[in-house]
Amino acid sequence: MTQVLAKADAGCATSNFLASALERLPGAGLVPHIRARAFEAYARAGLPHRRMEAWRYTDLRALIGEVLPLAPRPDAAALARAKASARRVAVDQAVKLVLVDGIFAPELSDLGELKNELHVQSLREVLENSATGAMAGLVLSTTDDAVIALNAAMASDGLVISIAEGNTIRRPIQIVQVATGSSVSAFTRSYLQLDKGAHATVVQSFISAEGASGYQANDVLIALAGDEASLSHLRIAADAADAVNISSGIIAVGTRAKLDLFSMTCSGSINRYQGFVTLGGEGSKLSANGVNLVKDKLHADTTIVVDHAVPHCTSRQKFRAVVDDCGRSVFQGRIVVRPVAQKTVASLSTRALLLSDQAAADNKPELEISADDVTCSHGATSGALDNNLVFYLRARGLSEMDAQMLLIKAFIGESIEEIFADNLRDFVTAQAEHWLQERL
């Protein structure tokens, strides 16, 4: 009974909310219709709650309760603050695309000499141009997940990037998403297409400008990596301490394509990264890794669903969580092997390190296997730092703190070292070390 009421409440609140936001959202032709349908799908389900298996550990109804109103268009002052913050997370040699409060900011972005190799449009442009109407349907596609449907209804801007056949983009493309407001929400959606044999690295950084607080970010990235393409995607969430970030990645890869995913969450209040990867071409390879660095009251959830839809694909996943204070880390990994997907090789390892008595870690590594000639395995552990190891290092003259630092670094290093590019690995390591320093 109460559940029904809650559902009606959730739907009701947002329906006014959508109506008031609609005039500010871009869209010509079929777009308003697509938004309305996506919104209906969201309203039917309401915010995800713990009785939904996929959201069992991250009950948004209890944790955030409501969706905040859409952030206003950033003014000059907001852009200036965003610029200062974006500089701090700049990845070495990367070309930069900046979204401020859910709106693309070309004045902060710089593609450098890649202008000619990359085809970049803002989502707003794509949705408002009726000539690209067919594209709108694809970019705004949804799944049965309510937060993805809500994103399709509310997406205000984002980037639509395509890389032509055989093109190798050597410099990383960094998309910096900055929040400058307080108690507002931003919905962004980006679309990335790598044609046959194209290579690219995309880094998504979520940050807050000084003074931003209590905001909600909802981002969706849809990526297609064509046959023999190679895509690296890093997501680094370093939001304000009281912010909510829910990001979803929907990624499909083609024959003999290669996909590297990495997700790091190191601050915020509620964070969820959900990645849905379909290995749709034979011989494709996935390496998905991530680190949750959790302290204070952060609730960090990483959920990865890998769908082995065809034979001869490989997926490897390594996730590590370090949890301190009253933090909670959640990892859910699901490997689906379809009946036709013979000769699949899939492995998944998830480990959590608990540093305080109030810390909690939930792991749910799931296997769903319908083919008989496959090798799949998963492992999950959780526990405290091994005192014997600390003692061993102390006996060699390290201080207690240094010994702990070294062991924690080695622990998360197991996952970070899977990042292929040196500069990105260094970048992530530096961020992780910064987190560790702050903790002490």
């Binding site: 009946p339 008595d357 799931e366 296997l367 769903e368 319908s370 395995s377 998963h378 492992g379 999950a380």
Partner: protein, 498 residues
């Protein structure tokens, strides 16, 4: 790696169309009117001559059940059950008051003989050879409580058990004869409000076994209950309550079969175990309900709530299950590790064939200090079956020093079936150490090297190691009872997937 031929053949031998217990006993029976209402609950309570408190307890459960909805989270799919189209009580009509085993309806005796379950007080079960060279075990006895549809028809060795102080009787009798014990423990492990099927059971359970082992007593023999569904359109709702008082030990076995029919029948049981300080219960199940035919028609819906409460310090509960039957299995024998230093174990082999759907596993809930648990689960899916392991391990804030080790492996035979693993590992205490692994490739390099060095091929070496491991699980079962399980003993899990 795909399954080896030997495994394929062994699994084939217990395929759904090979079901040996599908016969029906022609016997007149006494039934409650079809359907479920407060009157049905009153009818069952009256049939059992229950005291008023028991009726009240049932009615409260019934009223609560009306407010609940059937759970849908398990990975099983079945048409909606019409709870008004079931007989909730069916008992063979007694011809007269029984004073000895010889007066039981010969049809029933014949049934149990056919099933290989001795209702006469014999020591050795049919079809079980004593181990070669082993002791002839003249004093190895098993006391059996036979439950036929809704009632217990016979309980053997009652005198001998009484001498040891052990109470072993149908729960309906215990409610009348030992109300203080039943009232103290019934519903304390699985509360009436626990889940949809347990609540239904609380309202309409008709019989089952009750065991109480007094402090310091090591039960002199294995106890066992054999459940048989015979009547058409009936549901079986039995309730088992086992209490091991301080420092006691008991080993209990459970088996079940049902006739072959085209319609589905519901079985919703509740088992509650309580161990006090230093006590141990070992609970074994060979579940062989009718699984449906090779087209997926008929079969038992097995929705069972089994839970043990390690209430005292240093207590131990160990679940062993061999599951081959039922169209649908929904069952999670669990341990609540409440007492400090208590430990829980779960050993399971689940084999699914035909159109069977299994969603089974365990829950290990660590509440006390220095508690430990161990989960070993092997799943084999063949035909068009779906076999899911679903297990929860959780450590609460105060469970300092909790430890768990979980290993679950599954094997698929053919590409029309599915094997799924859904572990939930939840740690709320930093000193809790949990390890979960689901892979068979993790055979120690040293062991393999040792075998290779002695001239075995790698395949043989893996076979040897894996086989030895599976036997470890099966040998937890008291073999005297588990004729069926013996067939499975050398199932090789080579080529299994996580």
């Amino acid at each position: 790696m795909v399954a080896v031929q030997e495994t394929v053949e062994r699994v084939r031998r217990i395929d759904v169309d090979q079901y040996r217990y599908g016969f029906e006993t022609q016997i007149e029976s006494d039934k409650a009117p079809k359907g479920l209402s407060e009157d049905t609950v009153r009818f069952i309570s009256a049939k059992k001559n229950e005291p008023a408190w028991m009726l009240e307890w049932r009615l409260e459960a019934y009223r609560r059940w009306l407010t609940m909805t059937e759970p849908t989270w398990a990975r099983v799919d079945y048409p909606k059950i019409d709870y008004q189209d079931i007989y909730y009580y069916a008992a063979p009509k007694p011809k007269k008051t029984l004073s000895s085993i010889d007066e039981i309806d010969p049809e029933i005796l014949k049934t149990y003989e056919k099933l290989g379950i001795p209702l006469r007080e014999v020591a050795i079960l049919e079809g079980v050879e004593p181990p070669p060279g082993g002791p002839q075990t003249p004093n190895r006895k098993i006391a059996v409580d036979a439950v036929f549809d809704s009632v217990s028809v016979a309980t053997t060795f009652q005198k001998e058990l009484k001498a040891a102080g052990v109470i072993f009787m149908p729960i309906s009798e215990a409610i009348r004869e030992h109300p203080e014990l039943v009232q103290k423990y019934l519903g304390t492990v699985v509360p009436t409000s626990d889940n949809y099927f347990a609540t239904l059971n609380s309202a309409v359970f008709s019989d089952g076994s009750f065991v109480y082992v007094p402090p310091g007593v090591r039960c002199p023999m294995e106890l066992s209950t054999y459940f048989r569904i015979n009547e058409r359109n009936t549901g079986q709702f039995e309730r088992t309550l086992i209490i091991a008082d301080k420092g006691s030990y008991i080993s209990y076995l459970e088996g079940c079969t049902a006739p072959q029919r085209d319609e589905n029948q519901l079985h919703a049981a509740v088992v509650e175990l309580v161990t006090l300080d230093d006590a141990e219960i070992k609970y074994s199940t060979v579940q062989n309900w009718y699984p449906g035919n090779s087209e997926g028609k008929g079969g038992i819906y097995n929705f069972v709530t089994k839970r043990g409460d390690c209430r005292g310090k240093n207590s131990k509960i160990s679940w062993t299950q061999v599951e081959t039957g039922s169209a649908i299995t929904w069952k999670y024998p669990s341990c609540i590790l409440r007492g400090d230093n208590s430990s829980g174990e779960f050993y399971s082999i689940v084999i699914s064939n035909g159109f069977q759907q299994v969603d089974s596993g365990t829950k290990m809930i660590h509440l006390g200090k220095n508690t430990s648990s161990r989960i070993i689960s092997k799943g084999i899916a063949a035909g068009k079956s779906q076999n899911t392991y679903r297990g929860l391990v959780s450590a609460h804030r105060k469970a300092t020093g909790a430890r768990n080790y979980t290993a679950c492996d599954s094997l698929l035979i053919g590409d029309k079936c599915g094997a799924h693993t859904v572990p939930y590992v939840e740690a709320k205490n930093s000193s809790a150490t949990f390890e979960h692994e689901a892979t068979t490739s993790k055979i120690s390099e040293d062991v393999l090297f040792y075998c290779l060095q002695r001239g075995l091929s790698e395949q043989q070496a893996i076979g040897l190691v894996v086989n030895g491991f599976a036997k470890d699980v099966l040998q937890k079962l008291p073999m005297e009872f588990a004729v069926e399980a013996q067939k499975l003993i050398s199932i090789s899990l080579e080529g299994s997937v996580g």
